[in-house]
Symmetry: C3
Subunit: 260 residues, 3 copies
């Protein structure tokens, strides 16, 4: 049976540890260099920048007039890995995240694709934010495990910033964790295990009908003391790998696990 | 051309008539037995149980405090087969169905995946409801026919119960039928044929924009006298198989058809 | 890596220039001819007609009582190609378009499937509208380009009609263009290029969260002078092909490009 997400992740795995090339744009068939191009990353992700966004689009996107430049990314497979990555980028640059949208995608898998837009006064800031995000995405896929039947994800940060606040109403500056299980029932048993393991508070609870793009996932975010959040995620991971594994092959990490 | 739904169904077909093993949970990498595991079924379905649901999740799920236990299932491919199966289970057990959610899934196919949650005062009731549902799912896939272009489904019960009421506002205790066609145009010609064939009333009408998770289906449910509902479904099936067949291979049942 | 959309398009390409057969319905297993069948087209599209729509369905579809007949189509892969095609058909026939719905589909790709319903007083008008639409769909796929990572589309008409008005609030009788890029970031850089290239006005802006069926696309429609709209589309196409090409293989047209 073809497992598209597995293939995506296998493809992705090959790329890990390869530095993202400092490309200077791509060239069109008419010889024009697309200076908007920044780079690509796993999950069929592309990062772009527009130095001086057209005023009509400015309005449609609802972006404050003081920001002339935007940096933006879309991935076919992702969501939490992209938001976590953008959270690092917004901490490290003089940018604001103005839009996070989730498509129902993953190329036939059970989850999301993501689009994230950074706004900046200076195009170099927007570009840097996209570069940092692209690099971090590769790392964050290490805690995504998939087999033919579905996938699980665990994400941890010691200090949530603006991307996590916008996407998950995370408390800024606090330890924060995300638990994803697909098909959805796996996310529920993972979440129940997590909150029973350690003293953590549930921040958001999303399911196919509420808070997802109709993906086949339950996504629960938690906060608490750093040690408690980590312990909760590790327990959820253990249960998630076993239950997802009961449906098919042993789930495999998309790159290098960091939550171990 | 890869037809994921066809592959799912072929895989499923192999499993029909194999009794679901009485498994005693799955074991994690750390040697812990996951007592929450109940079993799996076709359509990449997993069934789980939680004896004592965490109080935070209790609240997020909106479940009455008197129910300590939940039994729940998610499938990647399904929807009507799962709801019909849960309808049997709720009749046979001391449980209440508290949630039915449809993801836009089927692993790249045109339809849904399903998540269903039973609540119970006693965990053994919750577990039994999940077991009955898993077994019935295998049977209900017999009236799902697919080829590369799409799928059709017909489902019949002589006496609708709480699952069908919750998912389709079915009149409890009455004969009830569900007609599904994908791509959507096929569902419409099937429904028109059904209601012209016999004296039945349309109960619900769902299309990509209304009442589905943006699936490429038209789903029509009907009620009436037992004989009329059956006759309407058979006519719809005839037209559905012919029109879907005009788009590709002869559509094949996922297991053993019962509506013949 | 399996690219379902690429396969769909390759399949579609084989069919281009083959005349649609004047079929006289399909035959069921019981020997009954389905007179409702009109034909099929690329994108797994089927066209049907109902001479005398059942009154219950009439009501659910919200169709004016004066229209006895409907002609309708659904495709698994499509959206803009189908709406553009229906726009030609409604100009050429005595019909009204009463429904355009977009499913989240494309068989695992990033985009939509489409369902379009024409209403008519006479069944021959409804049938003719479906025939014209099926033929035009084949042509419109010429300006859809795909690779494994996503797709781009450009569509142009010198004179928008009722289908484009209903789907995109297009100004009737004016030059009109549609720009689609997937994953979504590609649509945004295409749109920015388009509006900077020529003096055109943005009519609609759709993204995964707003105005799509949660597809991984940004879809922007534009109007203006005929020459300006065309020039804007050509620039967007150039940038779209280069950025999508940076993510994988050179994107290929699904049939014969007309916007060159």
């Amino acid at each position: 049976m073809t497992n598209i997400l597995e293939q995506v992740l296998a493809e992705a795995q090959k790329r890990v540890n390869q530095p993202i090339e400092a490309e200077e744009g791509v060239v069109t068939s008419t010889g024009k260099t697309i200076t908007e191009f920044v780079g690509t990353a796993m999950g069929d992700t592309i990062g772009l920048v527009i130095a001086n966004l057209d005023s009509q689009l400015h309005q449609y996107l609802g972006i404050d007039g003081k920001y002339r430049s935007i940096g933006f990314l879309s991935g076919r497979t992702g969501g939490a890995p992209h938001v976590m990555a953008a959270d690092e980028a917004v901490k490290a640059t003089n940018t604001e995240i103005v839009k996070i949208e989730m498509a129902r995608d993953t190329k036939g898998g059970a989850g999301h694709g993501a689009t994230i837009i950074f706004a900046a006064e200076d195009v170099s800031d927007a570009r840097r934010a996209v570069e940092i995000t692209l690099e971090a995405i590769e790392r964050n896929f290490g805690n995504v495990y998939a087999n033919d039947a579905g996938h699980i994800e665990l994400h941890y940060t010691a200090r949530a910033s603006q991307a996590l606040e916008l996407a998950f109403t995370a408390p800024v500056g606090k330890s924060f964790g995300i638990i994803v299980g697909a098909p959805a029932a796996i996310g529920l048993v993972m979440a129940d295990t997590a909150v029973k393991t350690a003293n953590v508070d549930v921040v958001t609870f999303a399911s196919p009908d509420n808070g997802t793009a109709r993906s086949n996932e339950i996504i629960v975010s938690i906060t608490g003391d750093s040690g408690a959040v980590k312990q909760a995620l590790l327990s959820a991971q253990d249960v998630g790998l076993a239950t997802l594994g009961s449906m098919g092959e042993t789930p495999k990490s998309a790159s290098i696990p960091t939550l171990i």
